[in-house]
Amino acid sequence: MMSNRDQPDRSNPEDQLAEFEKRLSAKIESRNAEDRKYDRPKQGWAIGMRYGTEFMVGVLVGAAVGFLIDSLFDTSPFGLLIGTLLGFGAGTVNVVRAAKELSERAKRDQ
C-alpha cells in the first residue's frame, strides 16, 4: 500500500476524474446552498425596486405609445386612453412575470 501512495492508480483516469468531478460538484452545491441562506434577506430592497419600476414603466410606456398613435393618426384622446389601460395590463404582466421568475429562482436555490 505504501508504494501506491506515490504512484496513484492510473488504470482508468477518466473514471477517476469523473468521480472526482462528481464529488467536487456535490460539495460546491451544498456549500452554495449554505451561502445563499445568508444573502437572501439583503435582496429585499432590490426586489422591491424591481416590482415598482416594472409596474410604473409598463404604465408609462403604454401611455407613451398611445400618445404617439394619437399624434400620428389624429385620434386624440382615444389612443392615450386605450394605451394607458393596456399599459396597466402590461405593468401587471411585468410584475407577475418578475414574481414568477423570482419565486422560481428561490425554489431552485433551495
Binding site: 439583503k42 409598463g58 408609462l60 410606456v61 405609445v65 393596456l86 402590461a90 411585468n94 431552485r108
Partner: protein
Amino acid sequence: MVEQNPISQFEIHEVAPLEIAGFNLAFTNSAFFMLLATVSVTLLMALATNKRALVPGRGQSIAEILYGFVADMVRSSAGNEGLRFFPFVFTLFIFILAGNMFGMFPYFPLGIEGIAWHGFTITSHIIVTLTLSMMVMAIVVGFGVYKNGFKFLKLFVPAGVPPILYAIVTPIEVISFLSRPISLSVRLFANMLAGHILLKVFAGFIIMLASAGAAWGIVGVLPFFMVVGLTALEFLVAFLQAYVFAILTCIYLNDALHPAH
C-alpha cells in the same frame, strides 16, 4: 470648500475640451470615469490571469470567482446555449460594477477648474444606463430575429390563449417588451441617483449643524452615523444593481434564444 448642493455631484465638467465639426466632443468627467472603469478592470483581469497558475493566487482567485459567478448566472437563466453571450454579460456586469464602485469614492484628483477633488457615478446618468440597456435590446432583437426568423414574433403571441383575447394580449405583450429597456435603465439610474443624493443630503446636515454653533455640533453626530450606515447600504446597492442588470440581461437573452415561453 465642501460643496453643499446635493445635485452638483452629477454635473458634467469638461476635462479636455475638444470640438470636431461643430460637435462638442470634450473629454468629460463622465468619460474619465468610464475610461477608469474600463482600464482598471482590463488591467485587473490581465494581471490576475497572466500567470495561469493551476493553483490560483489571490488575484487569480478574484478573477476566477467573478468568472464563475457570471457564468453561473448566465447558465441558470439562459441555459448552456446562453453561454455564447457570456463575454457580453460579463463585460456589462463588470463595467457597471466598476462604475458604481468608483462612484463610491469621492476623491479623484481631476483637473477641473475650481474643484480640487472629484467624485462621479457614471450610472447616475440615464443616458449611460439607457445606452447599456438599448445595447441589450438590440442584441435580443437582432439575435432573436437572426436565429428564429419570424418565430421571434411568437414572443408577442403566447400560446394557449383564446383567439379573441389576442386583440388585448398582443398589445399588452408589445408594451411589456417595449418597457423592458426602460425599466432596466431607470432602475439602475434611479437607485444610484437617489442613493448619492441621500448621502450628500445627510452629509450636508453634519456641516450645517457643525456651523450652527453652540451645542448643535453634538447633534451632528446623529446624521454622521446615518451617513456611515448609508455608505454601507450604497455599497450593497452598487453591487446589487449591477447584479440585477446582468441577470435581467440574461433573462431577456433567454427570450431571444427561446421566443416561445
